[in-house]
């Protein structure tokens, strides 16, 4: 059924108005961009080599002199040679403080312990993980723009399901910094399920086991006729292929009675360990070789030895799988299929362990490196309004409980983990002292009972509460989580009506004007280009809105009185006149006026949709 048709018969939209939307998998080890072209979602290759090119972009950024930088393969190849200025696996630092990074002293970077989020000193200055990630995203954005020879309308960016609010916010900041319009953040396993499910027309309960370079996710999803419902999700935001490299490197150093103390040596042994790990996917034995402080090191390693060294890491993933099944109150034999995602699932020991736990052979028929980006592209296309209506709906959950600090440093949970989003929930609190006029609100995320064991997301104060005896004030705190999984919190004293609110941006989240400043500095185009681009975007939006309104009038016009209809017609005429001009701000406000003017019409149409859902009838039958 079509609530929204983008075109009526005889009024096809201008082909140039098709919105180009991409899906981006911003991975720990490598990143990809995909888009729907000619009805098929596929990863976009770089311009290297005639006809083919490479779809993978290593997530590595090297800072050079004179504000130059290398991103991708060149940077990756320079890691051992210039380790301090070549940042790899930056995703593990997103939204983290130095104290959060277990084993950071083994990494070759000069970390700067900033409040909120750690940064790294390079020859080009101190860089935050957000800025480094933005370099990768901007590279992919340019790749897509070159492919289509046009501006992007927006992007869907994937994050591990287990990312907390701070990590999601950091990812969104990076995208904004790279000049991308973020249509949605979606969870990597959900994206994989979209790609997989649509490909195989599957129904039922699926487990997605996603072991990437630096993160591990396990999600249970129910697939049913285009609706992808996340039932439960869990995992470990600091466990991935990098840890397998590190474990093998540590073992090899011990075998060779050697140490790796310099930045160069640390990187060299990790690169060698990674190569040995990859070789062991095919071979039963290999040789780990590298140069440490000019001395060659060579350690033979068998697959059986590697499996034994890394078994504790695999066991950690299996424990997370059992926990998520417990959370969902599901038994492992209810799972109809297990989808493997992430390059690390190529390891034979991982496939064997997962197969054993579920009692079935995991599905590996899609490329585990590409499947997340492909799923994100399908969702991006749908969100941009290019897909057929009613084709795809993702119903995601929050991965970690959200709550407030109460007396004694305890957490009062407001929204439990695995609750479907969007969600809003209110809880009432009161004052504990006579005459108390302010209340501190401390928002935390996590499953532990003590505030100190959870992640602190935001603090704010509700002031101006009229003085009352203790326990008389009624303070309602409302949590709202949007479809991106991002939280905003509001507090209101019900008697007096005083209120305060925050969009939860952790203290290190970049302020909007900071982002605007950084955009000017380098990532976006020159100012004249910006104006032309804004005007083009505003006109596209005006055209979209006009077509959507006309289609709605054609489909449901009888819901309106003659006067209401004429008021909407007047707004349409007004918008058409202004859109012919050059003032993008004026066009934007005319679009907003049309949006406001059609609000009650939209409400009436939504109502009709609900009635249809309940009766199971098509809209047209009503």
């Amino acid at each position: 059924m079509a609530l929204l048709q983008l075109s009526e018969p005889g009024q096809t939209p201008d082909p140039h108005a098709r919105r180009i939307a991409v899906g981006i998998d911003l991975g720990t080890t490598h990143s990809l961009v995909a888009a729907v072209r000619h009805g098929v979602a596929e990863c976009l290759p770089d311009g290297q080599g005639e006809g083919q090119g490479r779809v993978i972009l290593p997530s590595v950024v090297r800072y050079l002199d004179h504000n130059r930088r290398q991103i991708g393969f060149d940077a990756r190849d320079a890691q051992a040679e210039d380790p301090e200025n070549t940042i790899a696996s930056v995703k593990r630092f997103m939204g983290r403080r130095l104290a959060d990074l277990v084993g950071h002293e083994r990494l070759p970077y000069r970390f700067v312990d900033q409040p909120g989020m750690v940064a790294i000193a390079t020859r080009a200055g101190v860089k935050t993980p957000v800025e480094v990630s933005a370099e990768i995203l901007a590279t992919l954005r340019h790749r897509a723009e070159d492919t289509f020879n046009d501006d992007l309308f927006g992007a869907v960016i994937t994050v591990p399901a287990y990312f907390d609010d701070a990590q999601r916010q950091a990812t969104k900041d990076a995208a904004q910094l790279a000049g991308l319009n973020v249509l949605r953040l979606i969870n990597e396993p959900t994206a994989a399920a979209v790609a997989y499910g649509l490909d195989n027309a599957s129904e039922g309960l699926y487990a997605v086991y996603d072991l990437g370079g630096g993160t591990f996710d396990i999600s249970l999803l129910r697939l049913q006729r285009g609706v992808f419902e996340v039932v439960a999700t869990g995992g470990d935001a600091a466990l991935g292929g990098d840890d397998f490299d590190q474990a093998l490197a540590d073992w090899a150093l011990a075998q060779a009675h050697r140490g790796a103390d310099t930045a160069h040596d640390k990187r060299a042994v990790l690169v060698a360990a990674r190569a040995a790990k990859e070789a062991l996917t095919e071979a039963a034995d290999t040789l780990l070789t590298c140069n440490l402080s000019g001395q060659p090191v060579s350690v033979p390693v068998s697959r059986a030895q590697f499996d034994a060294i890394t078994r504790p890491l695999i066991d950690r993933t299996l424990a997370a799988v059992r926990k998520v099944l417990r959370d969902a109150r599901l038994k492992r034999d209810e799972v109809a299929g297990v989808v493997m995602v992430g390059g690390s699932t190529r390891m034979p020991a991982v496939q064997a362990a997962v197969g054993e736990l579920f009692g079935r052979v995991p599905l590996t028929n899609l490329n585990p490196d590409e499947v997340v980006a492909v799923g994100a592209a399908i969702q991006a296309n749908a969100l941009a309004g290019n897909g057929r209506d009613g084709e795809l709906l993702l119903l995601d959950v929050i991965p970690l409980s959200l709550g407030l600090e109460t007396m004694g440093g305890l957490v009062e949970r407001v929204i439990e983990r695995n609750t479907t989003i969007p969600v809003a929930k209110a809880q009432d609190f009161t004052t504990f002292k006579d005459g108390q006029t302010a209340m501190a609100i401390h928002v935390v995320q996590g499953e532990r009972e003590l505030v100190a064991d959870n992640r602190s997301l935001a603090r704010f104060e509700l002031r101006g509460i009229p003085p009352m005896v203790a326990g008389a004030a009624r303070i309602r705190v409302t949590f709202q989580v949007d479809a991106d999984g991002l939280l905003s919190v509001a507090a209101r004293e019900l008697g007096s009506g005083v209120e305060a609110s925050v969009v939860v941006k952790p203290s290190y989240g970049l302020a909007d004007d900071q982002i605007a400043g950084m955009l000017k500095d380098g990532f976006a185009s020159a100012e004249a280009d910006m104006v032309a681009r804004s005007l083009r975007e505003s006109r596209v939006e005006a055209e979209r809105m006009t077509l959507a309104t006309r289609a709605a009038l054609a489909a449901d016009g009888e819901l309106l009185t003659e006067a209401e209809r004429q008021a909407i017609e007047a707004l349409l005429v007004d918008l058409a006149r202004i859109a012919a001009g050059e003032d993008h701000a004026a066009i934007d406000s005319a679009v907003e006026r049309l949006a406001e003017g059609t609000e009650s019409f939209a409400a009436a149409r939504m109502n009709r949709g609900i009635q249809a859902a309940l009766t199971g009838r098509k809209l047209n039958d009503l």
Binding site: A382, L393, M545
Partner: protein, 176 residues
């Protein structure tokens, strides 16, 4: 055409289900997916900010009702409230002594449980008891029509649910 749906309609009306405790879970799930397919903000990405806000409100309301309806305990408590019997668990802590004795025995069993298998066994026992209590609650609400008695049963079930949460926390600790 049927009368307009409102955000303030009760959960059962919103989902087009009879106002009773007995419920077909697959029918509820089906309704939920159908409603979200109509109101989710992603369905209105081309329609401007006003529609987005409205869709967000509806999607939140539908999810709220779904969370309440799918949980038999929350559904029972909600029905009691709808029928004028407040749960008010904070001010109604009195429980029959046999029930309290049972709770204490379970708590001791949890403290004494030596390993994950023992905890799982206890969980099975408690789950069976919870199941029986829920069946009683359903009869009290749907056949006997006694919301006040049902509210007392809901309060007892809240004890059991909290205890099962403790069991699961213990299991999480034993299987890190």
């Amino acid at each position: 055409m049927t009368p307009a749906m409102k955000l303030s309609d009760d959960d059962f009306t919103l989902f087009g289900l009879p106002q009773r405790h007995a419920l077909d879970r697959s029918e509820l799930d089906e309704r939920w997916r159908a409603l979200q397919s109509q109101v989710h903000p992603d369905r209105f990405t081309s329609e401007g900010a006003a529609s987005q806000r409205l869709a967000m409100q509806w999607a939140v309301r539908v999810n709220e009702a779904y969370q309440r309806l799918k949980d038999p305990l929350k559904r029972g408590a909600y029905l009691c409230e709808l029928r004028g019997a407040a749960i008010d668990a904070d001010n109604n802590t009195a429980m029959p002594s046999a029930f309290l004795m049972q709770q204490m025995a379970w708590r001791e069993a949890l403290d004494d449980a030596a390993d994950a298998d023992a905890v799982r066994q206890l969980d099975d026992t408690v789950a069976a008891d919870e199941h029986a209590l829920l069946a009683t609650l359903e009869r009290t609400l749907d056949q006997q029509g006694e919301p006040r008695a049902a509210a007392q049963q809901v309060r007892a079930l809240m004890f059991v649910a909290r205890f099962r949460d403790d069991i699961h926390r213990r299991l999480d600790a034993l299987d890190p």
